[in-house]
C-alpha cells in the first residue's frame, strides 16, 4: 500500500507535465490553425469588412469617460456613443456596445478579434499602440487637464512644479497619455495609475491624491457636473487626437470608418455632437487656427525651447536607458513671424535617430493646428520639413520615436537649427539636459532575443506572441519584481496583525459576555459579508475624508490585516470549538483556571488544527493584494496592468502569474505535508521517540536509589545527573 502510493506520487509530476504539454499543444495548434484560417480570410477581407456579428458594429469601451462614453443607469450615453451610432448608420449597420470593459483590456480584445470589431474609449493615437492595432483618423482633438482641489488650483495653475515634489501623489488613468505626461514632467511626484478617471477624481476629492491628470474634456465635464469641490487647475496642451481602434486584420473596416468619419465631418454632424456634448465646436476652431496665415518679412525671429525629455523605458522604471529605442519629446514656442518651415534637431554624435516616425503637434493656445511633417533621419540629426509653415507664436511639439541615446548613458542636450518660410536660417538654443542611464543587462538580453530566429518563429504564432512573448517576458520579470516584493511585504507584514486580531475576535466571540460576543459578531459578519474590493475603496477614499492620511502602502497593510482577521477569527473559533469537551474537563479537574486552560491546553491544540486552513487563507490574502491595484498601490498587478496597457500584450500578466505561483505552489505543498503530518499524529502513526525515554527510566531509577541510600551507586547518580545537568541547582536542593 505504502509503496504503491509512493510510486504514484513519483509518477504524478510526470503525468501532470505530460498532460499539461498535451493541453498546450492542442491549444497552440488549435490557435495557430484558427489564426492561419483567419489570416487567409483576412487576405480576402481586404475588400470585405469583417464583423463579429452580422449587420452589427460591435464596440468595446470602458464607458467611464463622461461626456465621451458613460453609463446612465443601463443606457450608454455620450459623445462617442452617438458618434459610433452615426458611423454605424453610414455603414448600414446597427451599433452594439459590449458591457463596460477595463480600459487596459480593450486593445487586446479588439486585436484578438471574435469579441469586438472596434474599440472606442478616448484612445489617443500613439505610435506604440499603432504597433498592435490600427487607428481610424482622429475624430476629435484633445488635451490633458490637471485637476486639484479648489484651494490649491491657483498655485498649481501658475506653476506645475508645485506638484513635482516627493510626497505628492498624482492619480492618472493607467496606460494613458496623462500617465506618460506625469512620468515625464513630474518625475518627483508619485504616480498612481487607476482604472478610470472617475476613481482618480474621487481620490482627489477625498484628499487621497493631490491631483489627477486625465483627458481635459472628461475633467471639465466632471468638475462641472459631479466633483464641484475640485477645479481644473491647468490645461496641458498635448494636442493629442482620439481615434477608433480597429484590428490590423480588418483594414476594410478602418477604411470604411474613415470614409464615414469624413462624411460626418463634412455634413456637420460632428460639429453638432461637439456642440451638444462640449458646448464648443472644435472643428470650427481648428479650421480658423489653420487659416491664420502669415506674411513674409524675412526676419529669422527666435525659437524658445521649452522642453526636451525622453520617455522612460519600460524596464528602467522612471529612468531613460541608453542603447534602446525611446521617444524624444521636444517642445518649443516659435517667435518667427514668417513661420518655420523646417527644424533640424541634433544630438551628440554617439546618439542616433533610426526611424523617421515623428509626430508633429502644433498648438495655438489650446487648439491644435493640423500640420504634417516629414522627417529624415541621418545619424545623430533629424530634419523635419513641415507641409505648411508653423504659424508665429505657436507651440511646436516634435515626438520622435525610434531614437537611441548612447549605451553608456549620461546627460544630453538637444541642439539644432531651423529654417523660416522665407528661407532664413536660425539656430536653436540648447535644450535642458536629458539624463540617461547606461544600458542594462536585461536590455542586452532583450536585444539578443530580438536577433534570434527562434524568437521570431515563436512570435509569429499569435497565441504565443500574445501570451508568452520572450522579450516582454524578460522585461516584465524585471519590471514586476518591485511589485512582487511589495505584494509579499504587504501580506507578510499584515499577517501577524491579522493573526493577533483574529485571535482576539475569536476569543471575544466565545466570551461569556454578551457585549463582547455582539461586537465580535458585527465585526466578523461585516467584513466577511462584504467584498474586499469595497473595503479597500471605503478605507482608501473614506479615511482621508475624515482627515486621516496614511501612506498608501501602510493603508494597504491595514486593510489586508483587518479583512483577513475576520476570516481568521472564524477559523480560530471553529478550531477552538472542535476541541472536545473532555479537554476542558481534564484541565478543570487539574484545577486550571480559564486562562491556563486556554493557553496551555486549548490554544496549542487549536493552532495545530488550523495550520492548513490558515495557510490557505494566507495564500488567498497574498493573491488578494492584487485588489489594491485598483486604488493605486504599486503592487504586482498594477505593474503588469500598466505594461499590458502600454504594450497591448498579455505577456506581463503571464509574468505576474509566475510571480504569484512562485509563492503559492510551495505553500500549497506545505499545506499538504502539514495535513498529512497532522493526520499521522492524530492516528498515532509516525516515528516513536528513541533513546531519551530509556535514559529517563535509568534516571527515575537513579532518583529512587538516591532517596533510598544516599550516593550509594555512583553510576545511577551520574545518569540522573547527566539528565538533570541543566537544572542542577534545583535537583541538588531537592535531594
Amino acid at each position: 500500500m505504502k509503496r504503491n502510493s509512493c510510486v504514484r506520487l513519483r509518477a504524478l509530476p510526470l503525468v501532470m507535465a505530460m498532460s499539461l504539454a498535451m493541453v498546450l499543444t492542442v491549444f497552440v495548434t488549435g490557435c495557430s490553425s484558427s489564426s492561419s484560417s483567419s489570416k487567409s480570410t483576412s487576405k480576402k477581407a481586404s475588400e470585405k469588412i469583417e464583423l463579429v456579428h452580422k449587420g452589427k458594429l460591435t464596440v468595446a469601451s470602458d464607458l467611464a469617460n463622461p461626456p465621451f462614453d458613460y453609463m446612465e443607469g443601463t443606457t450608454k450615453k455620450g459623445f462617442e456613443v452617438e458618434l459610433m451610432d452615426a458611423l454605424a448608420k453610414k455603414l448600414g449597420l446597427t451599433v452594439n456596445y459590449l458591457n463596460p470593459m477595463k480600459f487596459d483590456s480593450i486593445i487586446p480584445t479588439v486585436k484578438q478579434g471574435g469579441k469586438a470589431d472596434v474599440g472606442a474609449s478616448n484612445f489617443t493615437i500613439t505610435a506604440d499602440r499603432k504597433k498592435e492595432i490600427d487607428f481610424t483618423d482622429a475624430y476629435i482633438d484633445s488635451n490633458q487637464g490637471i485637476v486639484t482641489s479648489k484651494a490649491t488650483a491657483s498655485s498649481v495653475g501658475s506653476d506645475v512644479n508645485v506638484l513635482n515634489k516627493s510626497g505628492v501623489t498624482v492619480a492618472v488613468q493607467s496606460g494613458t497619455t496623462g500617465e506618460s505626461w506625469v512620468e515625464e514632467n513630474l518625475p518627483n511626484a508619485k504616480v498612481v495609475a487607476l482604472d478610470d478617471p472617475i476613481s482618480a477624481l474621487s481620490g482627489v476629492s477625498t484628499g487621497l491624491y493631490n491631483a489627477a491628470v486625465a483627458d481635459l474634456p472628461v475633467m471639465q465635464y466632471e468638475v462641472k457636473n459631479s466633483y464641484t469641490s475640485l477645479s481644473v487647475a491647468k490645461e496641458i496642451a498635448t494636442g493629442e487626437q482620439y481615434g477608433i481602434v480597429v484590428s490590423k486584420d480588418n483594414p476594410a473596416l478602418t477604411k470604411a470608418l474613415n470614409k464615414a468619419l469624413k462624411q460626418l465631418r463634412k455634413d456637420g454632424t460632428l460639429s453638432t455632437f461637439e456642440k451638444k456634448w462640449f458646448g464648443v465646436d472644435y472643428e470650427a476652431q481648428s479650421a480658423s487656427a489653420a487659416a491664420t496665415s502669415t506674411t513674409t518679412n524675412g526676419d529669422a525671429g527666435s525659437v524658445v525651447v521649452s522642453k526636451a525629455t525622453a520617455r522612460p523605458n519600460e524596464d528602467g522604471g522612471d529612468r531613460v536607458i541608453g542603447g534602446i529605442n525611446t521617444r524624444l519629446t521636444w517642445e518649443a514656442t516659435t517667435k518667427v513671424e514668417d513661420g518655420v518651415s523646417s527644424v533640424t534637431l541634433k544630438l551628440p554624435s554617439d546618439a542616433s535617430f533610426e526611424g523617421s516616425t515623428t509626430k508633429v503637434t502644433v498648438l495655438k493656445g489650446l487648439t491644435r493646428v493640423n500640420i504634417d511633417g516629414k522627417a529624415t533621419a541621418k545619424g545623430n540629426t533629424v530634419t523635419i520639413k513641415f507641409a505648411s509653415p508653423i504659424p508665429n507664436g505657436s507651440l511646436l511639439r516634435l515626438e520622435i520615436t525610434d531614437m537611441k541615446f548612447p549605451n553608456q548613458g549620461g546627460k544630453y542636450q538637444v541642439t539644432g537649427s531651423y529654417t523660416t518660410a522665407a528661407g532664413v536660417k536660425g539656430t536653436l538654443p540648447a535644450s535642458a539636459k536629458i539624463k540617461t542611464i547606461s544600458n542594462t543587462p536585461v536590455q542586452q538580453i532583450v536585444m539578443w532575443l530580438d536577433g534570434q530566429p527562434w524568437v521570431t518563429a515563436w512570435n509569429s504564432v499569435p497565441f504565443l506572441n500574445m501570451f508568452f512573448k520572450p522579450q516582454l517576458l524578460v522585461t516584465s520579470f524585471v519590471s514586476l519584481f518591485g511589485g512582487w516584493v511589495l505584494c509579499l511585504l504587504i501580506v507578510v507584514i499584515s499577517y501577524p496583525f491579522a493573526i493577533a486580531l483574529g485571535l482576539l475576535f475569536a476569543m471575544m466571540k466565545i466570551s461569556r459576555f454578551k457585549v463582547l460576543r455582539g461586537l465580535a459578531s458585527i465585526y466578523i459578519n461585516l467584513l466577511r459579508g462584504t467584498p474586499l474590493f469595497l473595503q479597500i475603496y471605503i478605507m482608501f477614499f473614506g479615511l482621508p475624508m475624515i482627515g486621516i492620511n496614511i501612506d498608501n502602502n501602510v493603508l494597504g497593510v491595514i486593510v489586508m490585516a483587518i479583512n483577513s482577521s475576520a476570516y481568521q477569527a472564524e477559523i480560530y473559533r471553529a478550531g477552538i470549538l472542535s476541541i472536545p469537551n473532555g479537554q476542558y474537563e481534564a484541565a478543570a479537574s487539574l484545577g486550571m483556571n480559564r486562562a491556563q486552560t486556554m493557553f496551555t491546553v486549548i490554544l496549542p491544540q487549536m493552532v495545530r488544527r488550523v495550520i492548513p486552513t490558515v495557510t490557505s487563507d494566507f495564500i488567498t490574502s497574498y493573491k488578494d493584494t492584487s485588489l489594491l491595484s485598483s486604488v493605486g498601490v504599486m503592487e504586482l498587478m498594477m505593474f503588469s496592468k500598466n505594461l499590458t496597457t502600454t504594450t497591448g500584450n498579455i505577456t506581463p500578466y503571464m509574468a505576474a502569474a509566475i510571480y504569484y505561483l512562485i509563492v503559492t505552489l510551495p505553500l500549497i505543498k506545505v499545506v499538504s505535508i502539514v495535513e498529512k503530518h497532522l493526520a499521522d499524529a492524530e492516528n498515532g502513526v509516525g516515528p516513536r521517540p528513541r533513546g531519551r525515554a530509556a535514559k529517563r527510566v535509568e534516571a527515575a531509577e537513579g532518583e529512587k536509589g538516591e532517596s533510598a541510600e544516599q550516593d550509594a551507586e555512583p553510576k545511577d547518580t551520574s545518569a540522573f545527573e547527566a539528565l538533570a545537568a541543566p537544572f542542577r541547582s534545583h535537583a541538588s536542593q531537592e535531594a
Binding site: 466565545i510 461569556r512 470549538l577 472536545p580 469537551n581 473532555g582 479537554q583 476542558y584 474537563e585 481534564a586 484541565a587 478543570a588 479537574s589 487539574l590 484545577g591 486550571m592 483556571n593 480559564r594 491556563q596 496551555t600 491546553v601 496549542p604 491544540q605 495545530r608 499524529a681 492524530e682 492516528n683 498515532g684 509516525g686 516513536r688 521517540p689 531519551r692 525515554a693 530509556a694 529517563r696 527510566v697 534516571a699 527515575a700 532518583e703 529512587k704 538533570a724 537544572f727 534545583h730 535537583a731 531537592e734
Partner: protein, 287 residues
C-alpha cells in the same frame, strides 16, 4: 459555551447544611458497619454529599443523594447505566453544577463557591475519565507535569522528577516521551491516573476508567488502581462495572439506581446478601 462553565441552575428547596460536628457524629454512627474503614474518634467525612439533586432539562438524574466518604476509604459505586453514578461523581468536583443540595470537602462547601475557590478545591480532587482526556499535544511526561507546574507552581525539574516517579508507578516510565496517540488505550489511562495522582489530591475520582478499553487492556489499569488503593492511602471513589475489583478492593460498595442510593455496605454484604430487590436483580443480571 462549555457545559462546565455554566452556572446558576434553579435552586430547589433544600434544608441548609447541618452543623459540622452534629453531621459528622450522625454520619459516623450511620456508616459504622457499612464500610471496612477504620474510624478515628471524632473523624469528619472527607467528602460529604447532602440532599444532592441534579436535573438535566426537566429530567431528574439525581434525587436527594446523601453519601459520606471517609479519609482513605475506597468507595466503589455500582449501578446500571443511567443510574446517576457518573453525574454524582462529576458533581463532586463541580464538572456538573448541582441543581440543589450541598457537597462539602473536608467540611468546606464546594457548591455555590466562587470560581476561584472551585479551582482551588479541585486541586484536592483528582479525576480519571472514561475517555482518558489526555492532552494530545503533550508527551506522557508533560501530561503528568503540566498540572504540577501550572497549578501547584512547582519548579519544572521537581515536577519532572515527580512525573517520572508516577509514570514508573504505573509502569510507563519507558513511554515518557510518547504522545498519547502513540499509546494504547490502557497505557493512556495509566498515564491519566499518573497525571491525577501526581497532583497528590486528597480524593481521586474514577469515572468508569475501564469502560472504553479493550478487555485485554483492562487488567493493567485495574492493577494500577488496585496498587493505588492498597498502598497510597488515598481516598478513592470509583464508578465502575468491574465487580471483581469492587469485591476485592472496596471498603464499601454503593449501589445506585434511578438517581437514588438504593443500598450500601461492605462488599461481601452487598454482593452476597443484597437486601434491596433492585440490587438483587442487577447483580443477578451481571452474573
Amino acid at each position: 459555551m462549555k457545559s462546565f462553565m455554566k452556572s446558576g441552575a434553579k435552586e430547589l428547596e433544600v434544608p441548609p447544611a447541618m452543623d459540622a460536628e452534629e453531621a459528622a457524629r450522625k454520619a459516623y454512627e450511620h456508616d459504622q458497619g457499612l464500610t471496612k474503614h477504620t474510624f478515628k474518634p471524632g473523624e469528619h467525612p472527607i467528602v460529604r454529599i447532602e440532599h444532592l439533586n441534579k436535573t438535566f432539562t426537566d429530567t431528574p438524574v439525581l434525587r436527594d443523594v446523601n453519601l459520606d466518604v471517609w479519609n482513605g476509604e475506597i468507595v466503589v459505586v455500582l449501578g446500571p447505566s443511567g443510574s446517576g453514578k457518573s453525574t454524582m461523581l462529576r458533581c463532586i468536583n463541580m464538572l456538573e453544577t448541582p441543581t440543589a443540595g450541598h457537597i462539602l470537602i473536608e467540611d468546606q462547601e464546594i457548591t455555590g463557591s466562587k470560581k476561584t475557590d472551585v479551582n482551588k478545591l479541585r486541586r484536592d480532587l483528582g479525576m480519571v475519565f472514561q475517555g482518558f482526556n489526555l492532552f494530545p499535544h503533550m508527551t506522557a511526561l508533560e501530561n503528568v507535569m503540566v498540572g504540577q507546574v501550572k497549578v501547584l507552581k512547582k519548579p519544572k525539574e521537581e515536577a519532572r522528577v515527580e512525573a517520572l516517579k508516577q509514570l514508573k508507578a504505573v509502569g510507563l516510565a519507558d513511554r515518557a516521551d510518547y504522545k498519547p496517540p502513540q499509546l494504547s488505550g490502557g497505557q493512556q489511562q495509566r498515564v491519566a491516573i499518573a497525571r491525577a495522582v501526581a497532583m497528590h489530591p486528597k480524593v481521586i475520582l474514577f469515572d468508569e476508567p475501564t469502560s472504553a478499553l479493550d478487555p485485554e487492556l483492562v487488567r493493567d489499569v485495574l492493577n494500577v488502581m488496585r496498587d493505588l488503593a492498597l498502598h497510597s492511602g488515598m481516598t478513592m471513589i470509583v464508578v465502575t462495572h468491574e465487580m471483581d475489583f469492587a469485591r476485592d478492593v472496596a471498603d464499601r460498595v454503593v449501589f445506585m439506581e434511578g438517581g437514588v442510593v438504593v443500598e450500601q455496605g461492605l462488599p461481601s454484604e452487598v454482593f452476597d446478601h443484597p437486601k434491596a430487590q433492585r440490587t438483587k436483580e442487577f447483580l443477578g443480571h451481571i452474573r
